[in-house]
Symmetry: C2
Subunit: 156 residues, 2 copies
DNA sequence: GTAAATCCTACTGATTCGGTAGGAATTATG
DNA sequence: CATAATTCCTACCGAATCAGTAGGATTTAC
């Protein structure tokens, strides 16, 4: 029940790219410095993000990284999955097509809870985009993230 | 984003005790065998659960472990915290009285999301009791877990 | 051509994880 | 009382993961 620094760093770095979105590519070094992350370590995270098609890289002088899609199109869940692999609280939840992994299945009283928990986590991560995060960070009305998603409509 | 086997085993073992609740103490060996957990390892988990007052132990022959409270009074969150320590996705969320841990605080665009995620996880874990879990396991109407929790319990 | 940048692969030290080992202390039972 | 069953305690261990480092190859703007 703890975020890896991989996830923490990766998300922060992606926010950094999101804020620079529209301008030219941003150098790894710049992101690393601004976020206080080891350059070489971040390099590996970017490699993974790139492999998953979340960022685009431009080599050579004046090169750097840019988001591969608009900030509103990139969900935090995508970032986490790119960095950590599929979100699976336990092996029996890894791949739903192959349920056989959990031989205990039928008799495991805990299973439904893990499913519920995993769904909850996934839904939070997948309902937040980079756009939401930079919106929250800039303005003081950061409540678009903190509050629940679908509420506080003009009514009520 | 993965459950430790500590958590997995611990919850399963507690369910086992919950099912035996009302009868005499259950020996460690029995729980370990039924759940397919190393005896010596489970011993350590029980030590932690005992220290947190979730289970009661009776030494000597015919001894064993019993829940310290009714199954409906023990939340899964309590078990997880007993085994893993406080649920804190990252250090900056560890103790809310001392926010200073996260020097980045103001500028960290990710922080609000982690708060939301942690709250989501905690609320799921704390709204499910052992009672809910054994109810789900026995009957085929396991939906009391998957659905929301506090309702319809005319038991005990 | 050169400097700036990404790319790639391997290594490493520290920590955590899951588990083992061995025995001391307690207690029900015959 | 003797014994067996059981919890209790502390230390240790191998393997995996984590976070980070190292070093160089490749690409490209200027």
């Amino acid at each position: 029940m703890k975020l890896s620094s991989r996830t923490e760093y990766g998300v922060r770095a992606m926010v950094e790219l999101a804020e620079a979105h529209g301008g030219g590519p941003v150098a790894l070094r710049e992101v690393a410095e601004k976020q206080g992350i080891s350059e070489k370590y971040l390099e590996q995270l970017f490699a993974a993000l790139r492999k998953e098609g979340l960022i685009y890289s431009q080599r050579g002088a004046q090169g750097g990284y840019t988001l591969a899609k608009a900030p509103g199109e990139i969900r935090v869940g995508d970032i986490v999955r790119a960095l950590e692999g599929p979100i699976a609280l336990c092996d029996c939840l890894a791949n739903e097509e192959d349920d056989a992994v959990c031989e205990r299945m039928g008799e495991c009283a805990a299973h439904p809870l893990w499913v519920k928990l995993q769904d909850g986590i996934t839904s939070i991560l997948d309902s937040t985009t980079l756009q939401d995060m930079i919106a929250g960070a800039s303005g003081d009305s950061a409540n678009d993230i903190r509050g629940n998603s679908e509420e506080e409509s003009p009514n009520e």
